[in-house]
């Protein structure tokens, strides 16, 4: 299959850096300049620089640019407040909002030629999922202490030997399903776009998939964020 042209990799290659042609390179330097990592840094740069440029100073009566960010941030915060109450929402908001903006920008970036989605690499999504997974267990331990084990023991004491492995497997499956869902959807989108572009890119062949790609990007961001909110909220609730 033809290798997609990624402009950061092209620039880095012109600078003489060993950009790997496989997914992950061998040496440390090759790992550092592998495409998904450089595009992660591009997303980080976009997310740091763009609000700096568009938000000069906050005003009481927002103008157009501030309105945009208020809708983005405010909508997410209202949703979280509805789900978990104002105090917990304020506690969880920085992490969840970071994930939301990062995944959204990373997903949508892959639709442009010359860019790729960092989320089409399993390492990135698995890393984010592990952060969410560890965080929801830490929250559970923080709110319930040792009684957090009640979340895993099922309804009655006689069933504990049966329910404990089942609940632990069910909990570990969250890591797999959350990471593979995001990775699979975005990688499918990228691969399909590359193939269609190779086959009949001159006749606007990838156009329907580009439209679907916008939908998939937004929906997968929403699913990841909502499921992380639900997992964290479930760990903070009492066991039923």
């Amino acid at each position: 299959m033809a290798h997609p042209i990624l402009f950061i990799s092209v620039i880095l290659q012109a600078l003489g850096l060993p950009v790997p042609h496989t997914l992950v390179g061998e040496t440390l330097l090759a790992k550092l300049v592998s495409p998904h990592l450089t595009y992660t840094w591009l997303v980080m740069a976009i997310l740091i620089i763009m609000p700096k440029l568009t938000l000069g100073k906050l005003e009481l009566v927002p103008n157009g640019r501030q309105n945009f960010w208020e809708v983005c941030v405010g909508g997410l915060e209202t949703y979280m407040t509805d789900q978990m109450g104002p105090q917990r929402a304020a506690m969880m908001f920085p992490m969840i909002a970071t994930f939301a903006f990062y995944i959204l920008v990373a997903n949508l970036m892959g639709l442009m030629p010359g860019f790729m989605s960092p989320t089409s690499n399993l390492n990135i999504t698995l890393g984010m999922t592990l952060i969410v997974w560890v965080t929801h267990h830490i929250l559970g331990l923080k709110y319930h202490g040792i009684k957090y084990i009640n979340h895993f023991t099922g309804p009655m004491p006689a069933l504990i030997p049966l329910m404990l492995p089942i609940e632990i497997i069910s909990n570990l499956a969250r890591v797999l399903s959350l990471s593979i869902r995001l990775f699979g959807n975005i990688m499918a989108k990228e691969t399909l776009l590359a193939i269609l572009f190779m086959l009949y890119g001159a006749f606007f062949g990838p156009l329907p998939i580009l439209c679907l790609g916008v939908l998939v990007s937004v929906v997968q961001t929403m699913v990841f964020v909502l499921l992380s909110i639900l997992y964290c909220q479930g760990a903070m609730e009492h066991a039923h």
Partner: protein, 74 residues
């Protein structure tokens, strides 16, 4: 965003992921069983722990489905 729209979003993100969660439960179960069989107990218990944990994984997947079908809040 209205209240109904948010509820719809939550429902979609929960129920749209039922299938993948079920099959990853099964894979996690098989993975744990395979690891115990071949790495921890050095093939002495093979293939029984794999089969037992496969059963645990399947039950975990179906338990998730059952719990989702019993939810009253959604």
């Amino acid at each position: 965003m209205g209240g109904k729209h948010k509820e719809w979003m939550t429902l979609m993100s929960v129920f749209g992921t039922v299938g993948l969660h079920m099959c990853s439960s099964i894979f996690i179960g098989v993975g744990i069983g395979y690891y115990l069989d071949h790495k921890v107990f050095d093939d002495k218990t093979s293939p029984w722990l794999t089969l037992i944990f496969l059963a645990f994984g399947i039950v975990a997947g179906f338990k998730n489905l059952y719990q989702l079908s019993k939810r009253k809040d959604l």
